[in-house]
C-alpha cells in the first residue's frame, strides 16, 4: 500500500515551489525538511538500533560549525609566533568535511555505547552534547562564541567549466534540501532492509540471541552511530549554508528533544515515522504561532509527547497502518504475506 503512495508524494513535494508563493512558508518547509533529515538519522540510531542517544544535536552542530568554519576560513593563534591559518574552502568541500567530522564523532560515541549501557549511556550522550556546546560557546577565538559565525557563504553547485549556480534564493535551497532528504531516506531504507539492517534490529530486540548467531555487537552499534551522525552532520551543513548564521545555541538540548519528539510521535523504527513527525512538529509551530506564545507551544508539545507515549506508544505511522490493515481484513482483502516474507519485511521496515 505504501508503495502506491510514494510517487504521488514525491511529485507533490517537487511541485511545491511552483504554487507556494509565500516565501515565509517556503522557509518553514526548508527548515522543517532539514530537521526531518536529522530526525531520520536519529531514527536509525534510536529507532532501529535501539540506542538511547540523546546527544544527537551535537552531530548536527558539529556538521554546521565545521562546514561554516571551513567555508569562511579561520585562523588560530596556537603559540606566540605561530598562527594556524585555514583559507576559505569551496562550500561543497566544507560540507563534506562537516559530514566526515560528524561521522568521526559518531564513531567515538558508537565505541562508547558498547562499553557504557542503558541509562548511563543516555547521560553520557547528553553530557557530550553539553561539552561540545560549552566549547563552542567559550572557544571564542575559533567559533566567535555567542557572537555567532555569520555571513556564511551559501551553497554553490557547479558542473566544472559548464555551469555554476550559487543558491542565494529560497527555491533552489528547497530543492537542495529535498535532494538530500530523499537521498537520506533511500540510504536509511536500503540499510534497514538489508542484512546489515537486520543485524541492527536484532541487536535492539534481543542482543544475547543476536550475538549467539554471530552478530558483532560493537561493529553494528558503531556502524549505526557513524551513519546516523554523518547524516545529522549533513543536515547541519545544509542548515549552516541556508540560514548562513550559526551560534552555540544550535547545540541546545531542546533541539535534541525536538528530534526525539519527531521520531517518537511519528513512529520509531519505521521509515516514514520521522517524516510524519518532522512535518507535524515543523508545521505545528507555524499554525500555533498566532494563538500561543513559544512557551505555551512547548507545553503543548510536551503534553502531546506524553499522550503519544501513553496511548500510541509505537507512534502514529504504525497506528495508522494497523487501522488500515484492520479495515482491509474486514473487507477480506488480506494479502498472503506468509510465504515469501518480502512484504512482511517491507511492512516492518516501512
Amino acid at each position: 500500500m505504501t508503495n502506491l503512495l510514494r510517487w504521488p508524494w514525491l511529485a507533490f513535494l517537487l511541485s511545491v515551489p511552483v504554487w507556494l508563493d509565500d516565501q515565509y512558508y517556503l522557509h518553514i518547509l526548508i527548515t522543517t525538511g532539514i530537521f526531518t533529515i536529522a530526525a531520520m538519522s536519529l531514527n536509525l540510531l534510536l529507532g532501529f538500533t535501539g540506542q538511547l542517544s540523546l546527544g544527537h544535536v551535537a552531530f548536527f552542530g558539529i556538521g554546521a560549525y565545521t562546514s561554516a568554519l571551513l567555508s569562511l576560513g579561520f585562523d588560530l593563534e596556537l603559540a606566540e609566533s605561530y598562527t594556524f591559518v585555514v583559507a576559505p574552502k569551496p562550500v561543497w568541500f566544507a560540507f563534506l568535511c562537516g559530514i566526515l567530522l560528524a561521522g568521526f564523532f559518531g564513531w567515538v560515541i558508537g565505541k562508547i555505547s558498547f562499553k557504557v549501557r542503558g541509562a548511563y549511556f543516555v547521560i553520557v550522550t547528553i553530557s557530550f552534547a553539553e561539552v561540545v556546546r560549552l566549547v563552542a560557546l567559550n572557544w571564542v577565538d575559533l567559533t566567535e562564541g555567542p557572537m555567532a559565525l555569520s555571513a556564511i557563504p551559501p551553497f554553490t553547485l557547479a558542473v566544472p567549466g559548464l555551469w555554476e549556480q550559487t543558491l542565494y534564493r529560497k527555491v533552489p535551497n528547497y530543492y537542495l534540501m529535498l535532494a538530500v532528504a530523499i537521498l537520506s531516506y533511500l540510504i536509511v531504507r536500503r540499510l534497514v532492509l538489508s542484512r546489515t539492517g537486520r543485524a541492527m534490529i536484532a541487536l535492539r530486540e534481543n542482543e544475547p540471541l543476536a550475538t549467539s548467531v554471530g552478530i558483532d555487537v560493537t561493529r553494528y552499534l558503531v556502524l549505526a552511530a557513524v551513519v546516523s551522525a554523518a547524516m545529522a552532520g549533513a543536515a547541519g551543513g545544509l542548515y549552516a549554508h541556508y540560514v548562513r548564521i550559526v551560534d552555540p545555541d544550535v547545540f541546545l538540548f531542546i533541539y535534541t528533544v525536538t528530534m526525539v519528539i519527531m521520531v517518537i510521535t511519528g513512529g520509531k523504527g519505521t521509515l516514514t515515522g520521522p517524516i510524519v513527525g518532522g512535518l507535524i512538529f515543523g508545521i505545528l509551530p507555524v499554525l500555533l504561532r498566532t494563538i500561543a506564545e513559544p512557551e505555551a507551544q512547548w507545553i503543548i508539545y510536551g503534553a502531546i509527547m506524553i499522550v503519544i507515549v501513553y496511548f500510541l506508544p509505537d507512534g502514529i505511522v504504525p497506528a495508522v497502518r494497523a487501522w488500515v490493515e484492520g479495515l482491509q481484513s474486514r473487507r477480506g482483502a488480506a494479502e498472503p504475506t506468509a510465504l515469501t516474507g518480502a512484504p512482511a519485511a517491507e511492512r516492518k521496515g516501512d
Binding site: 538511547l52 548511563y120 543516555v122 553539553e130 560557546l137 512547548w298 507545553i299 510536551g302
Partner: protein, 290 residues
C-alpha cells in the same frame, strides 16, 4: 595559597548543596530506575518558591525555605502518582520520554509564569562577609552549608534508621522479593520520588539566594546531578555525597585555574572520563542504598 584556600572553601559549601541534589537523584534513579529529567525543574521550583514567598509575598525568609521544600515534596508526589505509576513496568525508554515531556511542561510553565528575567532573593543575613584569616565567606553561604549538612545527615538517618528507609533499601535490592515480604512498593516509590524531589527543591531553595533565579537554572543542575550519581554509583548515598563534593572541587579548581567559562563543563568531562574507565560508576561496588 590563599586563593587555593578560598577555592576549597567555596567548593566545600557548594559541594554540600550539590550533594543534596545528587542524593535526591540517586535515590530516584537507584530505587525506581527512572531517568528523572524533572529533577532540575524541582531544583528551579525550590528557588522560585523562595523568591515568590519571601520577595513577592513578604513571608519570613526561613519560613519561605520550609514552604519551598514542602512544595517540592508535594509536586514530586504528584508527578509520581499521575505520570509514573502507570508506567511501573514499562521500558526505560518510555519513562524517559514521559519525564522529558514533563520537564518541557514544567520549564515552560515557569518561563510563562516568571518571564526570563533573573530574579534575586534578599536574605536576612548581614551583608558583610565572615572573615576567617585568609579566606572570607558570606553569612548566607555559611547558613547554606549548615542547612545542607543537616539535611544530608537527616536523609542518611531516614534511610538507615526508619521503617520507610528499610523499605526503600529492600526495594532497591530486589523489588519483587520486597513486595512478597509485604513492602508496599507503590508507597515506597511515591515516597522516594517525593523525597528526591524535596531534596532537589531544598538545594534550589538554598542556592537561589546565593546565585540568581532563572527559568533555565534547572538544566545545568539536572546534568550536574546526573554527574554526581554516576560518580557515586546508583542508589549509593555516601557515594552521592562524596560525588557532590568532588564535582564542586573540580568546578572550583577548573574555574579558578583553567577558565571560568568551562566551569560547567567540568561535571560533564568527569562523567565521560569516569564512565570510560569504570562503566558502572566510581563507587559502584558499594552499590546499595545507604
Amino acid at each position: 595559597m590563599d586563593q587555593l584556600l578560598q577555592h576549597l572553601l567555596n567548593a566545600l559549601i557548594l559541594g554540600g548543596t550539590y550533594a543534596l541534589l545528587g542524593i535526591g537523584l540517586t535515590l530516584i534513579f537507584g530505587i525506581m530506575r527512572v531517568v528523572n529529567f524533572t529533577h532540575g525543574e524541582l531544583y528551579a521550583l525550590g528557588a522560585y518558591m523562595v523568591y515568590f514567598f519571601a520577595m513577592v509575598l513578604g513571608v519570613n525568609f526561613f519560613l519561605a525555605l520550609v514552604v519551598a521544600v514542602l512544595l517540592g515534596i508535594a509536586v514530586g508526589s504528584l508527578i509520581e502518582l499521575v505520570l509514573l505509576r502507570r508506567l511501573r513496568d514499562a521500558s526505560i525508554d518510555t519513562t524517559m520520554l514521559v519525564m522529558i515531556g514533563a520537564w518541557i511542561i514544567m520549564q515552560n510553565s515557569e518561563q510563562l509564569a516568571w518571564s526570563g528575567v533573573a530574579k534575586s532573593i534578599v536574605t536576612p543575613f548581614p551583608q558583610a562577609p565572615l572573615v576567617l584569616g585568609p579566606v572570607s565567606v558570606s553569612w548566607t553561604r555559611v547558613f547554606v552549608f549548615v542547612v545542607a549538612a543537616l539535611l544530608i545527615v537527616a536523609t542518611h538517618l531516614l534511610i538507615q534508621r526508619t521503617r520507610l528507609g528499610k523499605a526503600m533499601r529492600a526495594t532497591f535490592q530486589d523489588r519483587d522479593t520486597a513486595a512478597l515480604m509485604g513492602v508496599n512498593i507503590n508507597a515506597v516509590y511515591t515516597a522516594t520520588f517525593a523525597l528526591g524531589s524535596g531534596l532537589a527543591a531544598a538545594a534550589g531553595a538554598l542556592l537561589g539566594p546565593v546565585f540568581v533565579v532563572t527559568p533555565t537554572m534547572g538544566n545545568l543542575a539536572a546534568l550536574k546531578a546526573f554527574a554526581i550519581v554516576i560518580l557515586g554509583g546508583l542508589g549509593n548515598i555516601k557515594g552521592a555525597t562524596a560525588g557532590g563534593f568532588i564535582l564542586a572541587f573540580a568546578e572550583e579548581i577548573g574555574a579558578g585555574y583553567v577558565s571560568s567559562g568551562y566551569r560547567d563543563a567540568m561535571g560533564f568531562l568527569l562523567i565521560i572520563i569516569v564512565l570510560l574507565f569504570r562503566p558502572t560508576g566510581l563507587f559502584a561496588r558499594a552499590e546499595r542504598v545507604g
